[in-house]
């Protein structure tokens, strides 16, 4: 799927991930690099899921996907054996129970900036849902509508990370 600015005849560039709504629909904004005219693509839950099922990321991936990332993040009721994956050092993951919970949480309506999404992607896949949830809880407490890199820094300071 591509977008062209009809005024400039320029291909539009991905600008902002508007985040997931509770029903699984999402918004993604594209902008013309010449005139900065923007268009927001509103994607229904099935279309969102179709993209997720391809194992790709809207807005691009900044780091390679982790092994078994799609299965780990999309299987609704994985075995404990799968949840208790080991890290490269062979240590048992201490966050497995939280990750397990997070598999079934409903998506939030907070927006994530592109930079914030990219920073989140740097976290290992099996702790990413927990980190996302923690930051979103912090943002809600503070009354933020959008999660930016600055909000992430504030959340980290609050969590003592």
């Amino acid at each position: 799927m591509k977008f062209v600015c009809t005024e400039c005849d320029e291909p539009m560039k991905f600008d902002q991930n508007g985040g997931l709504d509770e029903d699984g629909s999402m918004a993604a904004t594209f902008r013309c690099p010449s005139c900065e005219w923007g268009v927001t693509l509103l994607i229904n839950p099935q279309e969102t899921q179709k993209v997720r099922s391809l194992g790709v990321k809207i807005g691009g991936a900044t780091v390679p996907s982790q092994p078994m990332e799609m299965l780990q993040t999309h299987l609704a009721k994985p075995s404990e054996a799968m949840a208790e994956v080991s890290s490269a050092s062979g240590c048992s993951c201490p966050f497995s129970a939280l990750v397990q919970d997070t598999f079934n949480t409903t998506p939030s309506n907070l927006r994530w900036s592109v930079e914030a999404e990219q920073r989140l992607e740097r976290a290992p896949s099996f702790v990413r849902p927990m980190v996302r949830r923690g930051i979103e809880e912090f943002a809600r407490e503070q009354g933020y509508a959008e999660i930016t890199a600055q909000v992430m820094d504030e959340a980290r300071t609050r969590m003592g990370m």
């Binding site: 899921q49 194992g55 009721k77 079934n104």
Partner: protein
């Protein structure tokens, strides 16, 4: 005239094509350590395809081959049970997940190893309505992760046990364009053979995948008392079908085969001398001959 789709390079920043290419490159790199990839398929369900896969894998392991098996039946996985590895604790590190190890060192990955309980079906996190729109794609990419994200190491053969139906063969061809061959399983019933004919046509003529041959399972029944052989499904032999592929074997029915599967012990390990065991081992020899003849790879020494 305004720009059209093909006039624009890239997709505005998501680089979906690049992300898919990265997935396929990872798959190709993993498969570089595998000498032969062979799919086991059928037209109809219930013909004993997983039993054939289990015993074919065990035959190769008995020959000293390093063997991996992918249970590609995402929604009805059975091979973890048949190899006796249910409940195996999966381990994952940055290189991928370690497969379960069955009898004679056969490596296995199956959806069964990822599910919480016996009664747990495969349920994906996503919208509950109109799941047909994305479920097939999710299953295809699960299969891709089974191939690319498991630490197979160096294998002589990777067997892929496909679910019933011909559709998954197209998926396999997309994921593994260099598939070395396909073993097709049927039973001597006209209904099964009608469907298997379509599967063979798809694999051989449309997807251009080498069909190693046909296995006719449950051909006959050996009376345990008098050891006389009786037909099990009447006389609908594949001899009468215009299949045009070699016959790899006719496997007689033996109730102990089902029991062996339930116990997680491959049948040929326990009953290799029985008529069904002999037929299964001969089937394995024919598959091996095909691979080594067509692909000219040296044989290994049998396990003593």
């Amino acid at each position: 005239m305004p720009k059209r789709y093909r006039d624009i390079a890239g997709d505005g920043g998501s680089n979906v094509a690049g992300q898919v290419a990265e997935q396929m490159a990872r798959l190709k790199a993993r498969m570089a350590g595998v000498k032969y990839t062979v799919a086991v398929m059928s037209g109809k369900g219930g013909v004993g395809k997983s039993t054939i896969t289990t015993n074919l894998a065990t035959f190769f392991a008995m020959q000293g081959w390093r063997v991996g098996v992918v249970d590609a039946d995402i929604n009805g996985p059975s091979l973890a049970k048949m190899f006796g590895v249910r409940g195996h604790q999966l381990r994952l590190d940055s290189s991928g997940v370690l497969p379960a190890i069955g009898p004679l060192g056969v490596q296995l990955i199956s959806m069964d190893l990822f599910l919480a309980e016996d009664k747990t079906p495969v349920v994906w996190d996503g919208p509950t309505a109109e799941t047909f729109l994305w479920r097939g794609t999710m299953e295809m990419h699960t299969l891709r992760e089974f191939l690319s994200d498991v630490q197979w190491g160096t294998l002589d053969i990777l067997l892929i046990d496909l679910p019933p139906g011909a559709d998954r063969m197209s998926t396999m061809r997309d994921l593994l364009p260099d598939l070395h061959g396909t073993v097709v399983v049927t039973i001597p019933s006209a209904v099964s053979q009608l469907v298997v004919l379509k599967s063979i046509t798809l694999a051989r003529d449309l997807l251009h995948t080498p069909v190693i041959g046909l296995v006719e399972n449950m051909t006959s029944y050996v009376c345990p008392t008098c050891e006389e052989v009786h037909p099990l499904f009447g006389q609908a032999s594949t001899d009468d079908m215009p299949l045009g592929v070699p016959l790899l074997g006719r496997i007689p029915f033996d109730p102990r085969m089902a029991a062996a599967g339930d116990q997680g012990t491959p049948y040929v390990l326990e009953y290799g001398a029985s008529p069904a065991g002999q037929a299964l081992l001969q089937m394995g020899e024919r598959v091996r001959t095909f691979l080594e003849t067509v692909h000219e790879e040296p044989a290994r020494s049998p396990v003593s």
